[in-house]
């Protein structure tokens, strides 16, 4: 069966009445589950696996693809409207999405998010169709040294680009990394900084930090601002209208980040998260008006949304072509596929071409359905912001508390949430940016493990990094991003004098 025939037969299944219905159900449920804090694609797919038992394999796959995309989009919704990122991949979405919603353009922000996700996802799927086997070999070439270098680059870049003091950004990142070292050390099994507390042995959950630093910190700020008049500019909160200029502004980041995001997504690890942060950083770096970022910039919202969706498609490359899941979500999807009797791997494309193309076609159709279903719903969803402030504050707080509780069933985690909420607010008062903190926290564990693996391979010598060309190139970027900005500043100061 040729590629074209395969694609066509895949679409034939997806566009049948039954197929469309299951995608619709999947997207709808996925969006709702994804909007709840703490419940991201992983839970959504997990919850749906038992429902798919006994279903026709192709239909089950279509539904899963819908659930997956729906959950990813649902996560962006709570990031944009409530500043409550439920999963790591949507943290960067909140940076500009939330300010935009606060300015009264919630509908527009959600529409931009939906369109960028759609574009990123679609380009990602097309690239997946074209390059899956070839890219799998590149992903394998990435060893621990390269991963460590890549993650270090993401961290230093975000610190060097944050507004205000770079020292504060670096301190924020260091503190985030320190929090990530709490718990049992993965390599030696030593409990670190747990002070004998059993609850800390597994480390601190991502959700606690994300909801604490972003959502709860915002709750305090909303309490002080609850009497500020907002009603005037909130009347067209549900309007989806994107002006021609804004569409033009979006096109650059969407085009670039769908490709870059896909490439980063191919690498196993924190695909969507790293991709969304790197997208945000690069767009800020090349933007003509970087000062707009963080205040509701169209580019700042479109870039991470495009990248995280493109990266999710990228994450399918190692899954489908090698049978190795590169992220938590694709691991659950692998489970779902296995339940349905599909064994992903190098042989899938040859042995079961209908299924292979079926999966890809279902991703494509799931993406379209997501846009078709969610655009009409946006005006209603964004009305959430019209709830009176006093009530919104109490509801958001309960929302965060349940999200964390449902994760571990442990009230200790809720106390931690409160503590990080206070820490987040103090950081806000003192102008310490939260982004480096959360990124360092997400990447910290993985960075430490890759660094130590790389050093173990080279028997403790740092020279191991020098022998790996890819790692060396990335590390030189790290150095550039740290010493670059101060040097630029010097030049700028000298320039007018000359």
């Amino acid at each position: 069966m040729s590629v074209l025939e395969g694609v066509l037969s895949g679409f034939q299944v997806a566009f049948s009445f039954q197929g469309l219905m299951f995608i619709f159900i999947g997207v709808f449920l996925g969006t709702i589950i994804g909007m709840l804090p703490g419940l991201g694609p992983i839970t959504a797919i997990g919850v749906m696996i038992p429902i798919s038992y006994g279903m026709n394999v192709e239909m089950a796959l279509l539904m899963m693809a819908g659930v997956y995309y729906g959950a990813v989009f649902g996560g962006s919704t709570s990031s944009i409207l409530l500043n409550a990122p439920g999963v790591a991949g949507t943290v960067a979405t909140a940076f500009d999405g939330y300010p935009m919603a606060q300015k009264g353009h919630a509908g527009k922000a959600l529409a931009i998010a939906a369109i960028s996700s759609f574009a990123g996802g679609t380009v990602g799927v097309i690239l997946l169709m074209l390059f899956a086997p070839a890219l799998a070999t590149v992903a394998v070439a990435f060893g621990p040294a390269e991963y460590f270098a890549l993650m270090l680059l993401a961290l230093t870049a975000i610190s060097s680009l944050s507004d205000g003091s770079m020292t504060k950004a670096l301190i924020s990142g260091t503190l985030g990394f320190m929090v990530a070292t709490i718990g049992i050390d993965g390599q030696t099994g030593t409990p670190r900084f747990t002070f004998g507390n059993v609850n800390l042995l597994n480390g601190i959950e991502f959700l606690i930090i994300a909801l604490g630093l972003f959502a709860l910190a915002e709750v305090w700020s909303l309490i002080l601002r609850r009497k500020d008049k907002t009603a005037e500019h909130m009347h067209n909160v549900g309007s989806l209208k994107i002006t021609k200029d804004e569409a033009k502004e979006m096109s650059g980041p969407v085009g670039r980040q769908s490709v870059l995001g896909f490439l980063i997504g191919v690498l196993p690890g924190a695909g969507a998260t790293i991709a969304s942060f790197i997208a945000y950083i690069t767009e800020k770096k090349i933007a003509k008006k970087p000062e707009e970022f963080g205040k509701g910039s169209v580019k700042g919202l479109a870039a991470p949304e495009t990248a995280n969706n493109a990266a999710t498609s990228g994450a399918f490359v190692p899954l489908l072509s090698l049978g190795i899941p590169g992220s938590g979500t694709t691991a659950v999807l692998l489970g779902a596929l296995l339940v349905m009797g599909v064994q992903p791997g190098p042989l899938l494309m040859e042995d079961q071409p209908t299924l292979f193309w079926g999966v890809i076609a279902s991703m494509y159709v799931g993406n379209i359905m997501l846009l078709a279903l969610n655009l009409p719903l946006i005006p209603y969803i964004s009305k959430i912001l019209l709830i009176p402030r006093a009530m919104l504050i109490s509801l958001v707080t309960v929302f965060c508390l349940i999200g964390v509780y449902a994760l571990s069933f442990n009230t200790f985690d809720l106390y931690l949430l409160l503590i990080f909420g206070v820490v987040g607010y103090i950081m806000k008062l003192l102008k310490f940016p939260p982004a480096p903190f959360i990124l360092a926290f997400i990447l910290g564990g993985m960075m430490e493990q890759s660094l130590r693996k790389a050093l173990t391979i080279s028997n403790g010598s740092l020279a191991g990094f020098l022998e790996r060309p890819i790692a060396l190139v990335i590390l030189s970027f790290v150095v550039l991003s740290l010493i670059g900005p101060p040097i630029f500043k010097l030049f700028r100061k000298k320039a007018p004098a000359a």
Binding site: L224, I393, L414, L430, R452
Partner: protein
């Protein structure tokens, strides 16, 4: 010595880094491990130490929007922040004994009143409906069991 905000913060961070380093040095060591569990924490500890010293000598930036807002709002509003934090603390404390529905209902109702919302009937309806809806959805649809507490269902 403590004139600027940066200096005060820097001293706190300096102490944090010293404490972190102290605990890092006290981590047990293992033979035959090229890079032990304390390696990365030591690097982080010294990094924070250096950064806090560097912050100490930096001039204060312009005040943040948020701290201006706190100063404008006055002591009563800051008290409100602490009060709500206290409510959250009570919520967590009582969650497993009283149950999710009861605690959430009380929390939403009281917090909303405290923050100045006057339409009590609407408030009562919302604070009853939302927890019940969540409770039903989590327990029966998502199969995530929230604490039942004193309620029979």
């Amino acid at each position: 010595m403590l004139q600027t905000t940066n200096r005060k913060v820097a001293i706190v961070l300096f102490i944090v880094s010293l404490a972190y380093l102290f605990f890092s040095y006290n981590l047990p060591e293992y033979p035959y491990v090229p890079v032990d569990a304390d390696a990365v924490p030591l690097v982080l500890g010294f990094l924070l130490l250096i950064l806090s010293i560097s912050l100490f000598f930096q001039k204060d930036e312009e005040q943040s929007e948020e701290s201006k807002k706190v100063q404008q709002s006055g002591i009563k509003e800051v008290g409100m922040l602490i009060l709500i934090a206290g409510y959250i603390f009570l919520y967590v404390l009582l969650l497993e004994t009283l149950g999710f529905v009861v605690v959430s209902c009380l929390f939403i109702f009281l917090t909303t009143i405290t923050l100045g919302y006057k339409r009590h009937i609407i408030n009562a309806i919302v604070s009853l409906a939302i927890p019940l809806l969540f409770y039903y959805a989590f327990n029966n649809i998502l199969k995530i069991v929230l604490p039942k507490g004193i309620l029979p269902f």
